[in-house]
């Protein structure tokens, strides 16, 4: 239909003539991936540490070498006693001190199980926790490698294997969240702004007086954003796999389908926002409060939903991004197929239908 084609063309003209829109659509995804993938990484490399080795034994030496060999730590101070440790914490700004006791070598051979003390700078709690986690896994690996086969092992031993993200790369956690955020911005915020702009400039009224049915007007406006969002999701997934080495264990085509479904949900959110606001400013504000805050903070993107207070958890359930991120993570990291994420698909589809119904009802009411 020529009217629809004319609409799509016109909408692309709007997009390509507005530098702000272009910037949001094409530069923001890269910026977000870079910010979350590289800059705001919770992984810590070359943390400055001090070693207090009171034993001077072979085993202790081997352990220290192993720690030094990992790129997580950089030993800046090597001591015999812990007497002036506090001074070193202050003057050299070390984050962690590892204390190896005098009888480390002996205990390693004969038991009781060797004992190591860690002293961490807890003024930055997240850093301290991460460092302790890192050092623990190094020490554990060392103990396993070096225990003589005959030696009496502790009565039981916990071995942990990190499934799906064995290296515990947090960028894998962020990519689905970024994808959700970008699709929200391009599909929901940009469409709500462009729809409201038609209202603000009176063109909506003029178009309503033409024979063009209003669904065509809306569809015509949405197609460009749908296409751009689809391209954007491919782009982000491409960046994730090529730059950060994130795997796609599931079927990439199925993954793309889920992205398309989420784009539809976001578009209907955009339509909904445009039906309750009258100015572009109000639409931007509504998008900020209604979309970005929940998508960033309540979707499990940054803060795990399990850690939220009980009253907040139900609210997280109505955030579309929560369901999308869940589905995407399962498909990319666990290799889940569409059957495995049916719940998420149904929820997103249901939200889309609900939002569209409410928006249509509202616009009908306004018309009279």
């Amino acid at each position: 239909m020529s009217a629809l084609a004319a609409f799509v063309k016109k909408e692309f003209l709007h997009i390509f003539r507005d530098k702000r829109t272009l910037l949001i659509i094409f530069c923001m995804p890269i910026a977000l991936v870079m910010i979350f993938g590289i800059v705001i990484s919770t992984e810590i490399y070359d943390a400055k540490i001090a070693i207090v080795d009171a034993s001077s034994g072979i085993r202790a030496q081997q352990l220290i070498e192993k720690i030094n060999a990992s790129n997580y730590f950089k030993i800046v101070s090597h001591l015999r006693s812990s007497s002036n440790l506090e001074e070193i914490f202050r003057s050299q700004n070390i984050k962690l001190a590892i204390l190896i006791p005098q009888n480390f070598d002996k205990d390693f051979q004969n038991g009781p199980p060797p004992y190591i003390q860690l002293i961490a700078d807890a003024s930055d709690l997240n850093v301290a926790t991460t460092l302790i986690g890192n050092i623990t896994s190094i020490v554990q690996a060392f103990v396993e490698e070096n225990s003589p086969p005959s030696a009496s092992l502790p009565p039981f031993q916990i071995t942990t294997r990190m499934y799906y993200n064995p290296e515990q790369r947090d960028v894998f956690m962020f990519i689905p969240g970024i994808l959700a955020l970008v699709l929200m911005i391009v599909s929901a915020m940009m469409t709500s702004i462009t729809l409201v702009r038609e209202k603000e400039f009176g063109t909506w009224r003029l178009l309503s007086s033409t024979p063009l049915p209003s669904p065509i007007i809306i569809v015509g406006k949405l197609i460009p954003y749908f296409l751009l969002s689809a391209i954007n999701s491919c782009f982000i997934l491409g960046l994730a796999t090529s730059v950060f080495g994130m795997p796609i264990h599931g079927n990439p085509f199925e993954l793309f389908l889920v992205c398309l479904l989420f784009i539809l949900t976001s578009l209907s959110l955009g339509i909904f926002i445009s039906s309750i606001t009258h100015t572009q400013q109000a639409a931007i504000l509504a998008s900020m409060v209604g979309l970005f805050l929940p998508t960033t903070f309540l979707s499990g993107f940054i803060f795990p939903i399990e850690n939220m207070p009980a009253w907040l958890q139900p609210i997280a359930q109505i955030v579309p991004a929560k369901w999308f991120i869940e589905a995407i993570k399962r498909m990319m990291l666990k290799g889940a197929s569409l059957q495995h994420v049916l719940t998420q698909i149904y929820v997103l589809a249901g939200m889309t239908v609900l939002l569209l119904t409410i928006s249509i009802r509202r616009s009908r009411k306004q018309a009279t």
Binding site: S2, A3, A5, A6, F7, K10, L13, H14, R17, D18, F201, G202, T203, R205, L206, L207, S208, S209, T210, P211, L212, A367, T368
Partner: protein
């Protein structure tokens, strides 16, 4: 072409259109004259099927606005009061877009828009937002005519436009008459009333009068005089105290004095003013204009 009977429209407690009756004949240039907030735009919205009446009937080209909105939309060309084209699209892109919306091809040569197109063609690649006020209105008219409508609805097309562009715009409307188009146009400028074949004066949602401009001025009920004096600011207050005065208003430096009593002559007025110490008073009988009629009808 347009029949409106007993039309009412409320917005909450506001009675925006109050029992409006109105008939527009085929190929007529019909003017709806009234100030801001008189209900002109609401009436246009109803005819353009953007709003529903609260009660009453409105028929456009035989189609009822409440039941046959989609048929009406095909045959009307609407130009809303607010400039409603895409400011970030060029002149040509706007026209092509609206041609596509109506499913027609833009044909620069067809007689209806040839004249208008010639005037805006030099700026066809300019963005609509960068045009002057008069040019914007011509472009909007062009877009409203692109599908050869049989009824043209123009809501205040000349508001805020300078007098020369206004004149040019009205000249264009005159030529449309010969092209088989019925035009319903609203304006707050009373001086534009004389350019219409038939006018309706509207105030507070009520039609004050409908007729040709000549017939409306012929129905003027008062004895009208023009008065001038050298001390004009005292003059108006004193004339309002004259017992026979119905209304007195300044039209520039001339005061229009409306008297109920047709037996009064220039002499009576001069005598009254001279008693109040005015010298060099000029008083003469006047033919009423549309503004005089509007003031008279507003008061009754």
């Amino acid at each position: 072409m347009v029949q409106i009977e007993n039309l009412n429209r409320y917005f909450g407690a506001v009675h925006a259109l109050n029992n409006v009756h109105l008939h527009v004949q085929k190929n007529q240039l019909f003017g709806l004259i009234g100030p801001d907030g008189s209900g002109k735009s609401t009436l246009f919205d109803i005819l353009a099927t953007l709003r529903l009446p609260s009660s009453g009937k409105a028929i456009v080209h035989g189609f009822d606005v409440q039941k046959k909105a989609s048929q009406i939309r095909k045959i009307i060309g609407f130009m809303p009061g607010q400039f409603s084209l895409y400011q970030d699209l060029s002149v040509l892109e706007n026209i092509r877009f609206f041609a596509n919306v109506y499913g027609v091809a833009f044909d620069e040569s067809f007689p209806l828009i040839r004249d208008i197109w010639q005037q805006i063609a030099p700026f066809k690649h300019r963005l609509a937002g960068k045009l002057s006020g008069g040019m914007k209105q011509k472009l909007a008219l062009c877009c409203a005519l692109v599908h050869k409508p049989s009824i043209l609805l123009l809501d205040e097309p000349t508001t805020g436009v300078d007098p020369v562009s206004r004149k040019e715009f009205w000249e264009m409307l005159q030529t449309l008459k010969s092209q088989n188009i019925t035009t319903l146009v609203s304006t707050p400028y009373m001086d534009e009333a004389n350019l219409c074949e038939c006018i309706a004066l509207i105030q507070n949602g009520k039609i004050l009068a409908i007729n040709s401009p000549a017939a409306i001025t012929a129905q003027f009920k008062f004895n009208l005089f023009g008065v001038q004096s050298t001390r004009s600011n005292m003059l108006i207050k004193q004339l309002r105290q004259f017992e026979k005065t119905q209304h007195c208003f300044a039209f520039g430096k001339t005061l229009h004095l409306m008297l109920k009593d047709f037996s009064m002559t220039e002499r009576d007025i001069v005598e009254f003013l001279e008693k109040h110490g005015h010298k060099n008073v000029a008083v003469w009988r006047m033919k009423p204009g549309i503004e005089d009629c509007f003031i008279e009808l507003m008061q009754s």
